[in-house]
């Protein structure tokens, strides 16, 4: 082989590999479950509950993974491209996946952003950003009921063969959520007014606060990708000391450092605050534990909150 032939062959190899990759979209088996990819465990739980056996579900982010920071790998992109439906939260919760998700839409994959089906008037704005909304909608159970309804309708549309199953499971879930909603209201209501303050690492709980009458403060703002400044820590520490709060909370998917720094600052001010527990904010708990489902997570969170603040 001459030098030139070798060089050309070298270039040909990657081209061949790409060509032999085959079509990215395989046709769905006629009666089998549809392939669905969900981004977060929370969205995944919704899909699994409503979809049941009719969906073959893959969840990209595991327990404890922060969706604000998650960057999709090439493997993730392939998984999404070979699925029939991709379900995600939307409203920029999966902040680093926006482009990829848009591209999926272009490739003929059905893309469903559950939070974006909600009525914008029901959404909370983000301070300082007029066009954007707080994406943590699942903390308001009523809103999540609406999301479940939307997903149910979308699945019916995409996969009409299994429509009955989707409707049945979807409606059952919405009923279960109604019951959960009542339970949460009662529990939070049992706290004395002065104690109804929830301080966490980032502003994930605004919807929770609005729905159940509890004041909410986060250190990092709506996205964990931001960095808190010294003033933010100081102001929050002053707030906590002033209100004599007994507990603040770390989150399972956010580094506990900030909250630890917060407690040190409060201690220096003579306050006595402890870390009341770890809340599941942007992800569900580990599989096999009590918090592996959405309902389980909500119950665990509320128990933790009420338990710590009632002291």
């Amino acid at each position: 082989m001459t030098m030139k032939t070798r060089v050309v062959s070298l270039f040909a190899i990657p081209l061949l590999l790409v060509a032999c990759g085959g079509p990215l979209q395989d046709a769905a088996p006629a009666d089998g479950p549809i392939r669905v990819v969900a981004t977060t465990t929370i969205v995944g739980d919704l899909v699994r509950t409503v979809g049941g056996d009719s969906v073959d579900l893959t969840i990209l982010m595991g327990a404890g993974v922060d969706p604000h920071l998650y960057k999709p790998s090439a493997g993730d992109v392939r998984t999404m491209a070979t699925a029939q439906v991709v379900v995600y939260n939307g409203l920029h919760l999966e902040g680093k996946m926006t482009e990829v998700l848009e591209e999926m839409g272009g490739r003929g994959v059905e893309v469903v952003a559950v939070a974006e089906y909600l009525d914008p008037k029901a959404l909370l704005p983000i301070e300082g950003f007029d066009e954007l909304h707080d994406p943590h909608v699942w903390f308001d159970i009523e809103l999540w009921q609406q999301a479940a309804a939307c997903l149910r309708d979308e699945l019916v549309r995409i996969d009409p063969d299994h429509a009955d199953g989707y409707r049945a499971r979807g409606d059952a879930f919405i009923a279960e959520l109604a019951e959960l909603d009542g339970w949460v209201e009662e529990r939070i209501g049992s706290l004395p007014e002065a104690r109804r303050v929830l301080v966490t690492a980032h502003d994930a709980f605004e919807y929770f606060g609005r729905a159940y009458g509890i004041e909410v403060r986060g250190l990092l703002g709506v996205s964990t990708a931001a960095e808190a400044g010294t003033a933010d820590v100081q102001q929050l520490a002053a707030f906590i000391a002033e209100r004599k709060l007994p507990a603040v909370f770390v989150e399972s998917s956010v580094p506990p450092r900030y909250v630890e720094a917060l407690t040190e600052a409060v201690a220096a001010r003579g306050g006595e605050v402890t870390i009341g527990g770890s809340l599941y904010s942007d992800a569900l708990g580990s599989p096999g534990g009590p918090a592996e489902t959405y309902v389980g997570t909500v119950r665990t969170n509320v128990d933790t909150i009420v338990g710590a603040l009632a002291e």
Binding site: V65, L69, K71, E227, A228, T230, Q234, R257, E264, A265
Partner: protein, 373 residues
């Protein structure tokens, strides 16, 4: 100073100050050895070190992180040394490559790690740009201990590092092991870099190593004052950044420190006496007569001498251009001479010295002859 009665500010300011001091002091020697890029390479290389330390131990303890970062930085310098010795690649190219490769590996590791359930808790991403406001007491204790050790060693080895930076060959000829000294210096630099990772992060750390030294160099011509100034500038930037971040909400501390530092450097570069841009611009106006301007006047005078009795015999710019070095802007120089009454334009494109100009030229020649004799 009731500002500093606030605990958080004290912690953050102390940590940032220690970082500024170590980076400023060691950065001075890196600067003088023309090795400022090494600080950049070391800090970027620290990223995979942090990731691997977490993967292996699952711990987020400050010392574990710092050890991982330090080892990775060390490996990076070894890699650079290897590349330089075994190939024709020049030193700063090898540094740049090492920086990019290690940092790339670090980012890949972060993407891999992010799938682990405990990853978000570790907050490894925060090492990219730092999270100064989350400094805990245990962090600052570790940083201060390391920083003090660094500065102490620097003080003890002062003359060795001075010798190493100025004339490493001479150091070798005295029997000093240059390899060992270089290794020690790199180690101290690694420690300084590692101190800063939580505060300003991997990406911005290079600024902390380079900038205080660059600013200090403009302000003095002696080594001890330069290092002292660089240390002071580092501390000042760190503390001021912390203070500003505590006064203005939503202002991240790490980047603010670097911004303060950059402002100091900019001011120093422009306003420093003797070396500063402003100074040189002003003094060029004053010194110019004996420097760039006289040659053109002298050329015109010499040309005029060839036409005695014809004071208005002008000569064109083209002729002057052949007599002047390439970079001289003749139009500007002639304009300047004309405004000072030394030359005049006798005709379109033709110039001659004025009577005053001739006298000046003669005086200059006379003084030159005197000096030579």
């Amino acid at each position: 100073m009731e500002l500093f009665s606030d605990y958080t500010l004290r912690v953050v300011a102390l940590g940032s100050g220690v970082l500024g001091a170590a980076a400023g002091a060691l950065g001075s020697f890196a600067y003088l050895r023309r090795q400022s890029l090494v600080g950049d390479a070391l800090s970027h290389a620290a990223l995979p070190g942090i990731a691997v330390a977490f993967l292996l131990t699952g711990s987020k303890a400050p010392l574990t992180i710092m050890l991982g970062a330090a080892l990775a930085g060390w490996l990076a310098t070894l890699a650079v040394g290897l590349v330089v010795r075994r190939s024709r690649v020049p030193y700063d190219s090898a540094l740049g490559m090492s920086l990019a490769v290690f940092f790339g590996i670090g980012l890949v590791l972060l993407t891999v790690i992010q799938k682990r359930p405990d990853a978000a808790q570790a907050g490894l991403e925060s090492f990219l740009f730092g999270q100064a406001a989350s400094l805990l007491r245990e962090d600052v204790v570790a940083m201060s201990a390391l920083g003090a050790a660094c500065l102490l060693l620097l003080g003890l080895l002062w003359k060795e590092f001075k010798l190493l930076s100025f004339d490493s060959e001479f150091a070798s000829s005295l029997g000093r092991s240059v390899g060992r000294l270089d290794g020690l210096f790199t180690l101290l630099l690694v420690i300084a870099v590692v101190i800063g990772l939580r505060t300003v992060g991997v990406v911005l750390m290079s600024a902390m190593v380079v900038a205080p030294a660059a600013a200090a160099r403009q302000l003095t011509d002696r080594l001890a004052p330069m290092v002292a100034l660089a240390t002071a500038i580092g501390v000042f930037s760190g503390v001021t950044g912390a203070v500003l971040s505590s006064l203005i909400p939503r202002l991240p501390t790490g980047p603010t420190i670097v911004l303060v530092l950059s402002s100091v450097v900019a001011i120093s570069l422009v306003f420093a006496p003797r070396r500063g841009l402003l100074w040189r611009w002003i003094s060029l106006g004053r010194l110019a007569p004996s420097a760039a301007l006289d040659p053109v006047l002298m050329h015109l005078y010499a040309l005029a001498q060839q036409h005695p009795g014809e004071p208005d015999h002008g000569h064109g710019i083209a002729v002057l251009r052949t007599m002047s070095p390439a970079g001289v802007d003749l139009d500007q120089v002639l304009e300047n001479l004309r405004s000072r009454g030394l030359v005049e334009r006798v005709d379109e494109g033709l110039w001659a010295p004025t009577a005053i100009g001739r006298r000046e030229a003669e005086r200059h020649l006379a003084s030159q002859n005197e000096a030579a004799s």
